[in-house]
């Protein structure tokens, strides 16, 4: 079909524009929070065809209904007016799949595809509502279809009164939604994010972590059917939290990095058999560990318990006004022979580009 050529050309243009802007997206938080389950909406500049057209002061229109002056007239979030109905007049939002975005990232950063380990495909079951049947719980009643059957019955029986159009449902009118159980491939990869939330990690640092984690997520998700994410925060003690808390939590006090590594070790041992799961560990910190003794313990933990089974351990050190930033040196000193450990420094948002590239250029 010809339209598919035009459509492909459109996608190609969109991809080109996103690619041009990728460095900007990598360094600004613009895409955070825009992602849905599979799609992400991206503001793309310079796609819309400009015309001589009216500006914003033409945003008015005519509607119909019972409203009183002062009521909102945009229940749908938009109105019809000469100014057009698009939100955000100058930038077109284009939806692309997260996979496509990751592909663009991969192309731009020249990342090799990851070779997953472990052949085993785990599947899980899920219910999907797709049909209609005669029986079911009231909560699944299909109102529209039921109403139509009842209306038809009453019309045929001659009990329908146009002056007082009330329809009473009977048992035989009722139709219900029904579901099918489908099997879905389940994830066999896990990302464990660890973050230092001690007093020296401020909001700027966390913003860096958030951005970095977004792109790590995007790339790994592209390479695995499904992926699980776990989040651990620590100061002198560590604990697992949910995603929202992970990016928002603020603690005071010192830093004992080994606490996080121990928590990660426990998590992997209890839930993720490293021979079957592709495991990714990322740790974000300003590198200001409380004691050299603890840093040595960290190295021992990594070397003996964590690094042997996992695909990769990424350590990302963010710059902080307070920290010594010494931990990265300790890692280099003791573990430079470990090829599944990668360390990067992210001092400003501009470094995220290189950091992501460093993490994934080995294709693990």
């Amino acid at each position: 079909m010809k339209i598919h050529k035009d459509h492909q050309r459109f996608r190609q243009i969109v991809r080109g524009k996103i690619r041009e802007d990728l460095r900007k997206f990598l360094t600004r938080g613009e895409l955070l929070g825009r992602e849905g389950k599979h799609l992400i909406s991206i503001p793309v500049r310079g796609i819309e065809t400009p015309h001589f057209r009216y500006g914003d002061n033409s945003d008015a229109g005519v509607g119909s209904g019972e409203a009183q002056p002062g009521d909102k007239a945009d229940a749908d979030g938009e109105g019809v007016g000469p100014g057009g109905t698009e939100e955000g007049h100058h930038i077109l939002e284009v939806e692309i799949s997260l996979d496509e975005l990751a592909d663009i990232l991969g192309e731009e950063l020249e990342l090799p595809r990851i070779q997953p380990k472990g052949k085993k495909r785990i599947t899980s079951e899920k219910d999907r509502y797709s049909g209609i049947r005669q029986t079911g719980p009231e909560s699944l009643r299909h109102f529209r279809r039921t109403f139509r059957r009842a209306l038809r019955r009453e019309l045929m029986a001659g009990t329908y009164n146009p002056e007082n159009p009330r329809i009473a449902f009977e048992r035989r009118d009722k139709l219900y939604r029904s579901w099918k159980t489908v099997r879905q491939p389940q994830s066999n990869a896990v990302i464990v994010y660890m973050m230092d939330v001690s007093g020296s990690m401020g909001d700027d640092q966390k913003e860096l972590v958030r951005l970095e984690a977004f792109w790590i997520d995007a790339w790994l998700r592209r390479n695995y059917e499904g992926i699980e994410s776990r989040y651990i925060v620590h100061d002198v003690r560590a604990g697992e939290v949910d995603r929202e808390t992970f990016f928002r939590i603020r603690e005071d006090g010192g830093t004992r990095i080994s606490s996080a590594f121990k928590a990660a070790r426990d998590l992997l041992e209890n839930h993720y058999e490293t021979s079957e799961w592709n495991c990714y560990l990322f740790h974000f910190s300003d590198g200001d560990n409380s004691s050299d003794a603890d840093s040595r313990e960290c190295c021992a933990l990594l070397k003996e318990r964590l690094l042997p089974g996992i695909n990769m351990f990424g350590y990302c050190q963010v710059a902080s006004a307070y920290g010594s930033g010494h931990f990265i040196n300790v890692l280099h000193e003791h573990l430079s022979d470990q090829d599944n450990m990668i360390t990067t420094r992210v001092n400003t948002k501009d470094d995220i580009y290189d950091s992501i590239k460093a993490f994934f250029s080995k294709g693990k």
Partner: protein
């Protein structure tokens, strides 16, 4: 990458199955008896995805390749996936008329759509605003596609696409009211010259004087000076380009911009298509109202079987449904046609009725005069009137003439406005005059600004000078700046547009390198023409 694909990949639907074809013929007979007069109509069935494809192409199975159609296709497909809208029917203004129906709809839906289509087709054939449209547009579009494909082969996709983008950016710069003026074709033709002045314009004013006083009253030196000035003035005006403000900017570019032949052809193609689609934009409410009026009349009088009633009623109600902040053209159109029919059946028009201020009397006016029983065709004054209306009005004149306070009240119309405090649209009032003014504003020139060429040789440097006629709303600055760049790509000399922004006259310019804007004052040279 580009292959010649004329003829092989064109979308083909399937003809109606026998039973439906028989129904279509019966419905056509009913429609003709009701007075509808339409071209032979060819129906084809398509599945939903094909419908989206054709809709993305503006209803035609053959269009020139361009990403914009792909973008539109994606939008339609998404809209359909999310259940926000489904296209049931498309009709092409062509002789014969082509109509596309979606395959997976109920039998009764297809019948309804067929009745709807006949009325659209009647409208295309009889409404005067369509009189000048090309009735062989199906072939013409295919022809355009072939030509642009050929240019792509010869000059490369990027090159042609870039130029098509530029043309799209300027495609609203036409004059839709010029359909009755014979549109000039081809770049060779010149803009109509201003008619020559009858008196000798290059002659100085000579005051009557006795011969011996003449050289004092009309001193030869002053006369010579004045004569020279007048001659120069005349020369200037004669060379004025355009002779008067011109709205068909695309035509002006076609005639005067330094275009290569293929570029001129592409520009003329896009202009021609813009003119073809313009009347549809000008008659949206009328056209949909008329089609809904007739599918409703034909289906409820002749077309429905008892077991189809509920499905029909549900879908008809869905088509006419209104939601807050949204004006449904189907609903507004059908109700206004019905209102006109009722008013003319009961004599609620003319000076006597207009003058009557007794609300009670107005309400009772003509009661009992309505025709009894079923009216067929033009069998009542109301029907006679609506057939006349469908012939000579467009949306603007339709609303201007027939929108009444009673109607606005009955339809619960209101005026809303953007409220900067809450950043939402807020209902402002139900005042008839305001509502009417807003409606007319939204429809006038399809809510496009009025832009004119004022000077094609501005400052005698071959620069292009446009003007915006301000009718209450400012131009969007960012868009204007971007559009100027595209205009420059065609004109290749500095371009300007004069617009009013926040009550100040501003001149926006682009010289190929940078965009500038300046307040209009005495330092700015005036263009050859001014907007009054």
């Amino acid at each position: 990458m580009v292959q010649n694909e004329i003829g092989n990949h064109s979308l083909a639907g399937t003809a109606l199955p026998v039973e439906l074809a028989r129904q279509a013929e019966t419905l056509a007979e009913h429609a003709r008896r009701e007075g509808l007069d339409f071209y032979p109509t060819i129906f084809e069935l398509f599945d939903t995805d094909q419908m989206n494809q054709i809709a993305a192409y503006g209803g035609f199975p053959q269009r020139y390749p361009h990403w914009r159609f792909g973008m539109e296709y994606e939008r339609l497909r998404k809209q359909h996936t999310y259940g926000l809208g489904k296209i049931f029917e498309m009709v092409i203004n062509n002789d014969p008329c082509y109509a596309y129906l979606v395959r997976d709809s109920a039998f009764v839906d297809k019948k309804t759509v067929i009745a709807h289509v006949y009325a659209h087709c009647d409208f295309f054939k009889n409404n005067v605003w369509f009189a000048q449209t090309n009735r062989r547009m199906m072939d013409e579009m295919a022809n355009h596609a072939t030509r642009i494909r050929r240019y792509i082969e010869r000059y490369g996709l990027e090159e042609v696409e870039k130029f098509v983008d530029v043309c799209h950016s300027l495609e609203n710069l036409i004059d839709p009211h010029s359909v009755f003026i014979r549109r000039q074709k081809g770049r060779a033709q010149r803009i109509i010259e201003r008619p020559a002045r009858e008196d000798r314009p290059d002659r100085a004013t000579r005051f009557p004087a006795k011969e011996y006083m003449d050289r004092y009253i009309n001193p030869p030196k002053v006369m010579a000076e004045e004569e020279r000035e007048a001659r120069e003035q005349h020369e200037r005006e004669r060379g004025r380009l355009p002779a008067r403000p011109l709205r068909d900017i695309m035509l002006f570019l076609l005639n005067h911009a330094p275009l290569q032949d293929w570029q001129a052809d592409v520009l003329s193609i896009i202009r021609e298509e813009a003119y073809y689609f313009a009347p549809q934009g000008m008659t949206k409410i009328m056209n949909e109202g008329w089609a809904s009026y007739w599918h409703s009349t034909i289906m409820t009088n002749y077309g429905l079987r008892a077991d189809e009633l509920i499905t029909y009623a549900e879908h008809h109600a869905g088509t006419l449904a209104t939601s807050p902040g949204r004006l449904n053209p189907y609903k507004l159109g059908i109700e206004l046609f019905r209102d006109i029919e009722r008013r003319w059946n009961t004599g609620r028009h003319g000076p006597e009725y207009e003058r009557c201020e007794d609300m009670q009397a107005r309400r009772e006016w003509g009661r009992g005069q309505e025709p009894k029983g079923r009216v067929v065709g033009r069998g009542s004054p109301g029907r006679e009137k609506i057939f006349e209306v469908r012939r000579i009005y467009n949306d603007v004149t339709f609303l201007d003439e027939f929108l009444t306070p009673e109607f606005v009240d009955e339809q619960k119309l209101y005026h809303y406005r953007f409220d900067p405090a809450t950043r939402r649209m807020v209902v402002v009032e139900r005042d008839f005059e305001k509502i009417k003014r807003q409606l007319l504003f939204m429809l006038t020139n399809h809510a496009q600004p009025y832009i004119y060429v004022l000077d094609g040789n501005y400052r005698n440097r071959g620069e292009l000078y446009l003007g915006h006629r301000h009718i209450g709303v400012d131009l969007d600055i960012k868009y204007a700046v971007e559009t100027l760049k595209n205009l420059h790509a065609v004109w290749r000399r500095p371009v300007h547009i004069h617009a009013r922004i926040d009550d100040d006259p501003i001149l926006f310019s682009y010289d190929g390198e940078k965009s500038t804007q300046q307040k209009m004052d005495k330092t700015v040279d005036p263009p050859a023409n001014v907007l009054n």
